[in-house]
Amino acid sequence: MDVRWMRKHQEHVPSVLLCFYTLTSDPTRATLCDNQIKTDVNKIRGLLSQSGYRTRLAVVLLSDQATMPLGEGLQERLSNIQRGCGLDPKAFFLVPPPKESQEELERMAENMLTTLYGLAIEYYRDLGRHARKKRSRGVAPQPTVPPTSGTSQTLSLAGWHVRYDFKSAVFAEFRQEMDNALRSFEQAYENLLSSELLEIIPSWSPRWNEARFLADVMAIRCLRCLLWNDQYSAACRRWQMHRDRIADFVDRRGRGTSNYGWEAWEARWATVMANLIERTDIPDLAPSTLKLYLPPEKNVMGERLQPWELLHHTGYWYRMAANHLRTRRMYAHSMPDDDRRSPSDSPASHVASKAFTYDTYMCPDPHEEYPLTGRGGVNHSRLIIEALIRARTEFQKRGQFRLAAETSLECARELVVVKDWKNIVELLRPIWREMSFRTEGWLTIAEDLSWTLRAGAAMVGEADLVVAIDWELLNKSFTRRMNWHYNITRSLEGVAPPKSKPRIQIADGQILSFFSASFVFKTEEGKAGQSCQGQLSIKSNAHPGSAPIVFSSLQVKFDDIIHTIVLQHQADSQTRQANGNVVLSSVALSAPAVEDASDEGSIRRAGLRGEADLTLNPGQTTVFDMEIPLREPGEASAATLTVSLESDTFDLQHTLNFGQSRDANTWYVSPTARKRIPRPNPMSIRVLPRPPKLEIKPIVWDEQYYTNESISLALEILNAEDADAMAKLSAVLVGEDPPLPSFQLRTSAPDSKFEDSSDLVSEEESSSQVHTQLGTIGASSCLKIHVSLPPVDRSSSFDFTFRVSYHLSTDPSTPITQQITLQLNIANPFEANYDLLPRVHPDPWPSLFDPDTTLLPTPSPDTSDSSPTPTTPTALPNGIKQAWCLTTRYASFASEPLRVLDVDIILHSTPSVSYSHQKAVTTPRGGISEPGKVVRPKTIEEATFDILTQKATLDDRSQSVLDVSFIIKWQRLGRRGGGDDDDGVNVTTLPVPRFNIFGIEPRVLASVSYMATSDSTRVIMLEVMIENASNHFLTFGLSMEPSDEFAFSGPKQTTLNVLPVSRRSATYRLLPLGTEKEEGGAGGHWIKPTLVVRDKYFQKVLRVQPTAEGTKVDKDGGLLIWVPPPAEEAAEGDEDDEDDEGE
């Protein structure tokens, strides 16, 4: 039994033969055709039965035309054909005319297949049954043909069993009964490997290999069944088991497992598994699931599993195959030369021994495997690479990039063997570029890859790659390769010279640089215009013994502010001091002169240049000490270092970022001494703005300004720099209250002339901020600035900021700023309180009974007239008159004495009803005597004003309101009258709270007058005036009680009747009984007459209100009367007068 049997059943002998015939619709030819079909079918059947196989026959009749009538006739024809052919009705189909839709046809075909499938299964079941029947006979059948040597071998009974088991398994497989198939295969397999079969076959016999082959086939079929049944772990296990058993066999009985033949088989076996998995197309292993292997099946879940028994994806299997192929090559290459000769030219004894040494199962003989001639033979590398590439694609599909890279590396190693340099470079260059080995520190891997790639690149002539790799491999972290020159300048030796000199650019992080660089500023802060010290240190970590590197230039770039520094190589620098591995050289930097900087401040960037010895020995630390001029304020930090190397064959530029490394804050004082700079970020420096030497001084700037005062300020800008300064001024006023006062700015000539006429006026539209050019201020000269603000109404506080930005004529690229912020306080200078006291109007009231006084202004315009001018007689008011006295006490809240020029009040005319007339009186007591009284802070001044009021008409007796404002005209003391500010007088208006006047309640007003009588005794006339502004007739009772203090004459108790809208008065004469000793002689004193005025009708005591001088009210509301001191001529002893208390 061999592969032909399989092929017979798989390809040659069908289980079902399906014939298609056309059923003619033409009735005339129908019978003929039907008969033709019948004969044909029968003929086929005859042939089939002749062949001995029970192939089922099925017939499909295709209706050829759409016009086929579906009727009795047709049915009859069909059954006729069927009967005529002796066909099973199940195997007989009729396809209706092709007018049916595509889906219909498909469904029909499907039905047909299902039916036929049943037939096929039946067929194979028959065959399987046959095979089992034969096996169960239990005896080896008689050979059908007599055994002839060479063509066929006799089989033992066990052999027959294997045969039958195999056959029935295959048939079961055809039936898709995989469980059965598996069982049968296993049985056959066990039998085959049992002691009766494989064990007794000698390994030299061709049967041995045949048996192995059969075992392999069965194993493969087993795997197939297992995979079909989703028993993936079992499949793996089966795979391993087969390998182990075969290995065992080969070891024990065959030629051992340490030869290329076995490895070839192993590789093949792994590939077979991979192929099977590929064929099975397991959805759970698809790349999108990100799964690398499948979980074990449930039934083996709890068991101890080998990791490999979890089915991994094909990448792993291919890789395994590649590994075995590599071992195979190893064995093949280790064959002695004798064995590699072809049998024709080697002694026979050798051939014999060879046959025992090498397992040539499914692989070529030694002389073909690895011929001595070196030509032909098996291309192992190609096989390996193929397997690896397949594995790699699988890994890549599943995101296992590292494993893919590893596979690529393996691949490349194979390519080295084949000397396919170009592909090496293609394969490895992308990996080398990104190389996660490097960034993640897997140096050994990186190293391996680099060397491989370098070899390839050198062969291909990729000069830049070669140099870059050499450059990287200088790093001491990589293991040193023996006998390697480690000289970067020689790295292109033996490389095909490229057309042009290669320029190699290496960015930071692209390779693992063999040197590290750091930049340290000595100080944390620097000032613009000065310079700071910085150190660039480059530490080489190259292999000891490698050639020194001589950089052609170094370039240090900074963030902003500081210009790029370029160091050029200059051999034998004198400034080098060396100690051990540290070389310190101080470099003088020179900046090419900056010639122009236009007014807008555009700065031409110019690098700083220096020269130093740029040789870097391996292990050495080279430090360059530099003095870096700082120009602009800001934050500067060292960013990158670019080293350039120029050799005869190539140019190389390597850029390195300054990172935070450990030794990044070491400062080398000398090659021997170093110190740590204890700063978190020593690579950066904060450049403070250049200290401005331009001064801004306030000249006229008081600490307090007042409302209603126009303010003028002055500042002085003094240029204390050594050079002329081109300056700009901006003045900004900032305050809390939104409406900021606008101001004006004037500059006057730098020489301190005071006149503002000669100024360079830059009087812009006044606003709350002003920017202006000041022009050039000469060295040590000054400029005056005047600021004037209009009067401010409210007390407030502002911040005035003056900023002068300038640059010196010697150094136009450095802007300097000086600023000053001054506070401007504006306060109310005065505050006041007010009293409105009643007075007795000197004029008589108009009387209702006197037409002269009342009826005069009858014309109508009067009533509505509110003109304040009393001149027109028509407008003459004739209402009730009242007199008042407004007493104001104002205090200065200024911080300095002020000169008050005048005080005044303004009466705001009350609408229409009342007409007022006022007269300002500067009262003698504490009032303003002379214009320009100096009022000290926190002192209270008093001013009183008499106000006469009169109602417009007598009929109007309603209450009205007195609306007054108090005005103070004042001056600052310091301001000389003839000063530049001619305004001089400031007017502060203070609002006075409203007073109510003209009530209808009756008023009792007491007034006194002093009457000098004969002999120094003063008689006081007390007049009590009762005003009745109401429409009622009122009766008042007056009573005066006698007192010790004085004697009086007048009604002690009387009744006063007051007519409506009239007033009456009662007069008392008082003679104070002042006792000299009580008053101490000086000044007068107060007496308190007990005068009670009672409204008789309402039984209500009216308050007696004091008026004018000499009367006041004490705390209890009682009336007090001033007794003036005796006049200077007053004689003593006149006190004991008669105290008549008569009525």
Partner: protein, 204 residues
């Protein structure tokens, strides 16, 4: 009959930045020469550890997509071939432990093995296969012990974790980080690697 049982072939500690912190290689039994020798070269072990990182990446991607836990025992990462398998563990600070197990690293006689406690069960399973398999979770003691050792290392005031696994973004000139050279840690790992056999539950 001699049975192959798994042993640890290599222990790797990999830092937060996927940088190797420590690699310890253990010899396996070679039946051909009856000696103990590492079955791979250090470079190959490096590659195995390195490729295990792929699986860490994949797992974390799977975990974030499925929303399950972030760290801990990852179990079997993958089997490198039929002999070697990589198991992994990730701490929640991103340090990864990888144990490469050689499934045939040791060979024991059935007779002697019977006396070794805890391995009988394993041997019963191995009776047919000739090789003892591994149950899920049998590597846990290894990782637990490794973590303990690592914690002990971190407690060492002279050990600066940032020096070994610098935070990302803090400069690259120093390379990805130093290796762990602590002697005690190395000895701990050696003890763990040598002491582990299937069924051992406590390696501390």
């Amino acid at each position: 009959m001699a049975t192959a049982i798994p042993s640890i072939a290599c222990l790797g500690v990999i830092g937060r930045n996927n940088n190797p912190l420590h690699i310890q290689i253990f010899p396996s039994y070679d039946p051909a020469t009856n000696t103990f020798a590492p079955i791979r070269t250090p470079l190959q072990f490096s590659l195995i550890l390195y490729s295990a990182l792929d699986v860490f990446d994949l797992r974390s991607r799977q975990n974030t997509s499925s929303g399950v836990g972030l760290s801990g025992d990852l179990g079997l990462l993958h089997a490198v071939d039929e002999r070697l398998a990589a198991y992994g563990f990730e701490t929640n600070t991103g340090t990864k432990f990888v144990a490469v197990v050689d499934m045939r690293g040791r060979r024991i006689d059935s007779r002697t093995a019977a006396s070794v406690a805890g391995t009988q069960a394993a041997l019963a399973a191995a009776a047919t296969a000739g090789v003892v398999g591994l149950r899920e979770g049998e590597m846990k003691p290894v990782f637990k012990a490794m973590q303990t050792a690592y914690i002990r290392l971190l407690q060492n005031p002279f050990y600066d974790p940032d020096e070994h696994s610098p935070l990302p973004g803090t400069g690259t000139t120093g390379g990805p980080g130093k290796r762990i050279t602590n002697k005690r840690f190395g000895e701990d790992l050696r003890r763990i690697g040598e002491g582990w056999t299937p069924g051992v539950t406590n390696l501390l």
